[in-house]
Amino acid sequence: MAEILITIALPKGKLGGEAVELLARAGLPVEGVDTESRQLVFCFPEDFLRYIICRPTDVPTYVEYGAADLGIVGKDTLVESGADVFELADLGFGYCRFVLAVPRIKWEEAGRSLETLLSLSRRVATKFPRVAANFFAGLGQQVEIIKLHGNIELAPQVGLADLIVDIVSTGRTLKENDLVEVASIFPATARLIANRVSYRIRHKELHSLVERLRKASEGLG
């Protein structure tokens, strides 16, 4: 078997599907690659390529340790991981935004003033404690951050938290749960990341791949 030169970490889920489409558009082999299947490793020895399929939150870890040379991951996950990796391209797809949201009734109680709302709030539920902590530190606010693993919108309904920090793409989930967005924190799209060492010592191979993916992503999003 030919030697695998480059390993790319792809996320499971919706972002993974779009990542595979991008790879195809860049002319990279994708035959049979399915980020939802039970198979987690896809090898293309003729192209010296290998894909590994990971949970989105694990993509930065595989890349940081050098188990994967490149990775495709949402900026939201990347920021939250705090991983020491190179961020080489904005791939354009997978758009979402970090927002601060609150139950409509609380927002009315606060007279639709963010300042009043924050002064009345103590606890924030989120899947992204690092992003939330940075946001509140930037505002000079001291809040208690509660880390949850999903369905954040539930927390304010049962009194676990006053506010939530979450990612939204269409805003439908917020609406369905009678939550209102009161501040936008930052937008996020899929990013191409690289391991620090791989990017230096396999520069030639990685650089041409990065350029192909960058070109293929232009005009997306």
């Binding site: 080489l88 391209a89 904005d90 690289a194 620090r196 060492v197 230096r200 520069h203």
Partner: protein
């Protein structure tokens, strides 16, 4: 972590070395110290902890949360050393101040950082390194990079590469942008963090177009050898960057003539601790290991912090990282003959063992072995040659 059996556990981020790995570590350290000594570097030992102020002048100054700090009974704040360069700078600026320059010093030491063990980092680890104090110009930089390459060779690594950067080029280009305060800090952070997306956004935000933008992109992407560097000179050649560009090219040219070309490449994106370093910087990489095994560079500002303005350069090599890169492969030590000496007369056994050791053999004493038969069994089990000492 359970509390009831804490006496059996270790805190996160520290390690035991069992006999095999401990031997590999010691043998690596000895090889490196031997190499450094042969280049004229003298070993120094500094205390494991010092006043926090000593380290605040150094490389980790900006990362205070990495320090292991504690308070002594006089209320002073002490710190476990997070690196060796600041203590050596202190030593040079005080007790070695009268020595003729350049001074060549080296060390092997454990260092302590409050890192996240879940991210591939340890809280106590070992470094071997050199500091060339008072050496300036191309000569000193060439020496230290050449020694770094030879240290990696001596460590038994084969596929490694050493990347050279020059932070003075980046500093010159940045100064020429006409940005200030937050804007400058943000552009710098994007360059240091290799955040291409962020850099592009900042270029839009601060209206950096044309040559300015082209320069920043080149700082980000320039990778290769002397040809790539030469091609970049007309674009990067702002006044403040011209001299460091020529310097980098000359260093590489000399090292190529010395025959190290195949281990070296240039990457202007290598910035290490950008504010701390002042000139040539370099990192050693091994395929498959996600972190550099070695790093160093010129830090002409540090000794002035200790009241002794003086140029300096050096590097440190991560012992654990080299051992990991070798994938458990040990150096094969020449195995000397090994004996088990036993007998009823302990004094006679001790005497016989001493004789054998003098000839270079490794000798174990048979403790509590009272019969020849038992001694034979023991020696066979442990793969030792038996010497049975008869009672006189």
């Amino acid at each position: 972590m359970n509390n009831y059996n804490r006496h059996l556990q270790l805190p996160e981020g520290v390690d035991d070395f069992l006999p095999g790995p401990a031997a590999a570590k010691r043998s690596l350290e000895n090889k490196l110290l031997g190499l450094f000594r042969s280049w004229g570097y003298q070993e120094v030992v500094t205390p494991t902890f010092e006043f926090t102020e000593t380290f605040q002048a150094g490389q980790v100054a900006a990362k205070e949360e990495l320090l292991f700090r504690f308070i002594d009974r006089k209320g002073r704040v002490l710190t476990l050393r997070p690196e060796m360069t600041a203590p050596i700078a202190r030593l040079v600026a005080t007790r070695l101040r009268k020595e003729k320059l350049p001074l060549r010093l080296c060390y092997v030491a454990s260092v302590f950082r409050y890192e996240d063990p879940a991210r591939g980092r340890r809280r106590e680890f070992h470094q071997a390194g050199v500091e060339l104090i008072g050496g300036t110009g191309v000569g000193a930089d060439v020496e230290v990079v050449a020694l770094a390459v030879e240290a990696l060779l001596e460590s038994g690594l084969k596929d490694f590469q050493v990347g050279l950067g020059q932070v003075a080029i980046t500093k010159g280009v940045l100064a020429d942008l006409g940005l200030e305060g937050e804007a400058l800090a943000a552009v710098k952070e994007a360059l240091v963090g290799k955040d291409w997306v962020g850099l592009n956004r900042l270029c839009e935000q601060y209206g950096l177009r044309g040559t300015a933008r082209q320069r920043l992109e080149l700082l980000f992407t320039l990778h290769g050898g002397r040809r790539e560097l030469k091609e970049a000179i007309p674009i990067l050649g702002v006044e403040a960057a011209r001299e460091p560009l020529a310097h980098l090219e000359e260093v590489l040219a000399i090292l190529e003539r010395y025959g190290l070309g195949r281990y070296l490449f240039i990457d202007l994106g290598i910035l290490r601790d950008f504010d701390y370093y002042t000139g040539l910087v370099f990192e050693g990489y091994v395929p498959g290991l996600g972190f550099p095994v070695l790093g160093g560079g010129r830090y002409d500002g540090l000794l002035a912090e200790f009241g002794y303005p003086c140029p300096a350069t050096g590097f440190a090599l991560g012992i654990e990282r080299v051992l990991a890169a070798r994938n458990g492969e040990m150096f094969i030590e020449e195995e000397s003959r090994a004996y088990l000496v036993a007998g009823k007369d302990l004094a006679a056994a001790l005497t016989k063992a001493k004789e054998l050791r003098r000839s270079g053999a490794r000798v174990e004493l048979g403790c509590g072995i009272s019969s020849l038969e038992e001694a034979r069994r023991e020696a066979a089990e442990r793969g030792l040659n038996l010497v049975w000492v008869e009672t006189v």
